[in-house]
Symmetry: C2
Subunit: 193 residues, 2 copies
DNA sequence: CGTCTATTTGAATGTACTCAAAAGCGGTGG
DNA sequence: CCACCGCTTTTGAGTACATTCAAATAGACG
């Protein structure tokens, strides 16, 4: 159950056995079945989730009703509504399982206590969000600077595993284009090869 | 010199006088004059900067040579190349003063030592980057979902001060559009009123 | 006052979108 | 096991938002 997350933690820090035990004690194993939601817009978010197995998507819905995928989360990723958790305000995002998934949840309050007891975890979560920030910034720049076909090719390179697991229209949404247009891009690329 | 940053810190935590003194001791006052760079692409970034007075922009240059503004930084903001600092790799961004500016620099290594001595600072910087992440995510969603004129109006609301201080084509770049198009948007809006 | 940069305006173009419909694919039940 | 249903992907035609290139105008600074 904890092998994967222990490896994740080990990348940042080395824990004493008792801290390790304490950490495990606040993690709540949780399963979500395909197509069901971990969080919906308007709900109060209380947990962050580490993905042990499976695949989820975090997305929001804009004014004219179309979905924008903010993140795919597969094994060894964290997913959560950072904005909502921080401000304790209703979520503006949905988190939905795209496959039957096994998670480890950590409650906001338990996390705070964990930070006090083991400051190394504050560091770990700082590094985690720092990485998320860098990924998001790269994606943002690419969305402004690169045409959709390049962004698609880049996605294929960076997340070949996700391409296999996720319906194509979700990838279109992640790239910021319509499913129709992604289909055309693929047709063009196929012709070139 | 330190009044503003002390207020910033006080929002997160309360420091003992000796910790406060230590914190001040690692801050390096620094001035940049208008149009000069604090950091350029390819350089190794070693410091983060707190803006005491002035205005800067962080931007990168994409493949076809056009600038993308990632952030404006005015009084009470932090600015730095988070990606480069974390990975100790050459910067892919530029940080340039748009006005003569007064900064307080903190060196990467001093920051690490500060975190060890006063864990509350690790928390402060975690919260800082968390806020940056939320801002960036909102901006990302808006760029995908909202047309340029709405994004401009939203920018006017959110950063009325910056609009006054910064040339218009930089705002266009921040919004992800060309200066010509922003000019047309403004012409349209002026007509409506 | 002249020069340099920023902004505006015009015309042509392109990337990506919308709406509509057809084709493909996968799961489920008879 | 195959037929059907729903969902995903593809294809087509027309359109819109935003870009590019070019030139004119306006502003700022020495």
């Amino acid at each position: 159950m904890f092998e994967a997350i222990d490896r994740y933690v080990a990348h940042c820090t080395t824990l004493s056995p008792s801290d390790m035990e304490y950490f495990h004690s606040i993690l709540q194993p949780f399963t979500v079945s395909k197509k069901s939601w971990l969080l919906r817009e308007g709900e109060l978010s209380t947990h962050e989730a580490y993905v042990v197995k499976g695949c989820l998507r975090k997305y929001c819905i804009d004014e004219d009703g179309s979905e924008i995928i903010l993140q795919f989360a597969v094994e060894d990723w964290w997913v959560g509504d950072i904005a909502g958790l921080a401000s304790q305000s209703p979520s503006r995002v949905y988190i939905q399982a795209l496959e039957d998934s096994e998670l480890l949840l950590i409650h906001r309050d338990d996390k705070e206590r964990l930070f006090e007891r083991v400051p190394a975890f504050e560091r770990m979560f700082r590094l985690m969000i720092q990485r998320s920030y860098v990924v998001l910034q790269d994606r943002f720049v690419a969305t402004l600077a690169a045409p959709a076909d390049e962004r698609y090719l880049h996605f294929l390179e960076k997340y070949p595993d996700i391409v296999q697991r996720v319906p194509q229209h979700y990838i279109a949404s992640y790239l910021g284009i319509t499913p129709e247009f992604l289909s055309r891009i693929r047709a063009r690329l196929a012709k070139k090869v």
